[in-house]
Symmetry: C2
Subunit: 500 residues, 2 copies
Amino acid sequence: MIKINKAACIGGGVIGGGWIARFLLAGIDVDVFDPHPDARRIIGEVLANAERAYAMLTGAPLPKRGKLTFCGSLEEAVVDADWIQESVPERLDLKRSVLAQIDAAARPDALIGSSTSGLLPTDLQQDMQYPERLFVAHPYNPVYLLPLVEIVGGEKTAMATIKAAMEKLPPIGMKGVHIAKEIEAFVGDRLLEALWREALWLIHDDICTVETLDDVIRYSFGLRWAQMGLFETYRIAGGEAGMRHFLQQFGPCLAWPWTKLTNVVDLDDALVEKIGQQSDEQAAGRSIRELERIRDENLVGILQALKGSNDGKGWGAGKLLKEFEHSLWAAGGKTKASSDLSQPLRLIETTVSPAWVDYNGHMTEHRYLQVFGDTSDALLRLIGVDLAYVEAGQSYYTVETHIRHLAQAKLGQAIHATCQVLSVDEKRLQVFHTIHDTAAGEAIATAEHMLVHVDTRAGKAIPAAAGVLEKAGSIAAAHAALPRPEGAGRHVGQKRWGTS
Amino acid sequence: MIKINKAACIGGGVIGGGWIARFLLAGIDVDVFDPHPDARRIIGEVLANAERAYAMLTGAPLPKRGKLTFCGSLEEAVVDADWIQESVPERLDLKRSVLAQIDAAARPDALIGSSTSGLLPTDLQQDMQYPERLFVAHPYNPVYLLPLVEIVGGEKTAMATIKAAMEKLPPIGMKGVHIAKEIEAFVGDRLLEALWREALWLIHDDICTVETLDDVIRYSFGLRWAQMGLFETYRIAGGEAGMRHFLQQFGPCLAWPWTKLTNVVDLDDALVEKIGQQSDEQAAGRSIRELERIRDENLVGILQALKGSNDGKGWGAGKLLKEFEHSLWAAGGKTKASSDLSQPLRLIETTVSPAWVDYNGHMTEHRYLQVFGDTSDALLRLIGVDLAYVEAGQSYYTVETHIRHLAQAKLGQAIHATCQVLSVDEKRLQVFHTIHDTAAGEAIATAEHMLVHVDTRAGKAIPAAAGVLEKAGSIAAAHAALPRPEGAGRHVGQKRWGTS
């Protein structure tokens, strides 16, 4: 994958801030120019949301966060960037002038993307000296979680630019789709616009309230569309007779005089107030911050669910997340190797995610084992049992586990996990993990594990590779100097802690 | 909740079959009339899909499946039903005549719902003698997983009918939304219709392909709409300035001449063939059955993810699932009390869910502990530690766990968990759980747990209530006659199984 080295973001509202968070969390330095007085605050808030969401989204090792620099001028921000993202307000004259400025100051080989949700790239590139590098890169809010970017070229855009832009999105966890012909609003907003007009009429005519309309979406086709789109869903609806049959059957009703699409609703004060009031009722006092938090938790959960489906291969946005994590693991395995061996290894840093707690806000029992499992995985990568090793057909499997709960982890609490290697031989690896309250330093839970090295295809124990044994052995030798952990070797119900 | 005693389904295609599955899996007997020669096969296939999905969807104890009876006449099917669901083809004359037949044969107090996706209830109830009990109950495919039912009354429909229909849906896991005024296609299909027209133009004009359009939906707003609808999403997009500001800002562009909504696309042979071909390419050889399976897995995963969000209270369709499970547990807790105590208690029946497996299709380590935790929860409910007990401030917390992995659970595999109570005293409860491969009967994993009874507010151990101790004690006394499980009392790394 071809990674962006340095990004520049011109304009840092909710969309610009989302792009900044995407780049930074993928380890890319970002230079920002935004003269708005609230720019730093807004960007800071989006970034905080994004970091919270990523901590829940993945246990994969995120790269060191990129460096965020606020620049005093547009020229300073774009001068050495290789991806420049323009996210200024949606006015053609403003965008054209900003893009001409970027064009004059940027490196000739820089890619220049516009976040416009509706303007034509051909119009945007009018005043540029090098218009071939300008394209629309239209994202969706929240940009740090929703993967879609519509990539649209104008008359003067080079195909090489489109190709390069599409290639640089997966390494930041995004999905580019190339829209073949430029039209105003592209594809996504065309579809949204159509539905939005109809929705406004339904509220205007008192067919239903804002909340009922939202319920209709999120209890039915919204659930379908998170994973398959319109046509694939209808392909299934067509059943064995197939898509062509479905079209022939349902086509005629398109001409029925059902919808009000031919008219444009007048968004007068009365309708604005009606919708505003119904929306307030629906929110039931929840602030935008609370709604954002809930939305992000839900998106994280949906993405994780899609990651596990399709026989574990992932589906749609979940497949993309899986691929993104693979690239993070591949990169992260390398950077961890320099840990201090005179202490238990500090391998996992995380916060207790909303998806991990019960309704009392306590971490659910099996999530402790999830953190312990992540700790084992981190140790394995450290000793060379990485993705390539596993894909070649060998791995360590856990055969036995002993967990002690000493305190309770709570929602939002910062925790970290350490690992002491107790013993290693050709086939076996015995480890003792501890989850700590990072602020107080106390142990919350411990786990002792026996792992066995296996040929995963044959399903039987075999000796580990020499390199793996050497690395594991050197950690075990260093850890032999550490005191044996209180609680190691215990069985369930043993009278007192530490009498093993 | 007011449960349906007996349902009748007239028409058993994909939608009728989905209703039948909903009723049967909620423990309700269903009488079916459908003269179509393939009716039994189609219903059987929908039911098989539904059972597979429910096994993944919830570990809650499903009631005994209702009895399915195919009747020789419509009259026979409806005669003693209290909810009659009409799902015959979408032609007004046909539906009117079928509804008149139902009307003549049904009990006077029966509720009569029509699955029509577009016809007006006022038109449907024309020929009925008791039209006040007719309403539209419009579901979404797959009916056994998508919870939404649009409830729409006609001019002659009684409000009591609407109220009764809305109340009878939650006990079968569904969400009724009452549409205030009847219009053709109601709310959901109005919205879908608007988007569908625009989508057809985008394909017709070669702006994008079927696959690109689907990707645009499922990588962006589809993910949003699975959890919040249109207005709540835009409320967030409006940011701190709020919904009214958002409307004022984005309102004007509604009048821009972007969309082709004023025209109706001609679904001629060329367009049908183009969409058909692109849809074939997108499916990449996957059959409708495979797509259905993937869709259902994804829906299950999404519903489960939404169940865990919002600080564990659940959100949208996930909150509904949580409430449905609560009612299942409440019902199941009672029926389980008569379990055979001469054996370990069989407490959990489930299937390995797509969200639970790694990319090799093996159940992830911490999901074993999830199943063991569910097993402990089931035991606790059985001895009287139910929701009310916990909400009153006492519970059992796990303090120590020992797990052995003996084999691997794989995607889709039917598993069940048993529990042997090893010992109980005032404050402590020691249990030994086993996860079994249900088909082969073999043990896949075992877990020994020590639970301590606590005052959850004070956070300290206290004696359990007398009734709880009595029930736990009687199980422990009966289980004392069982052999001590191989593996109980082991510590990690102990040389051989069973030498404790």
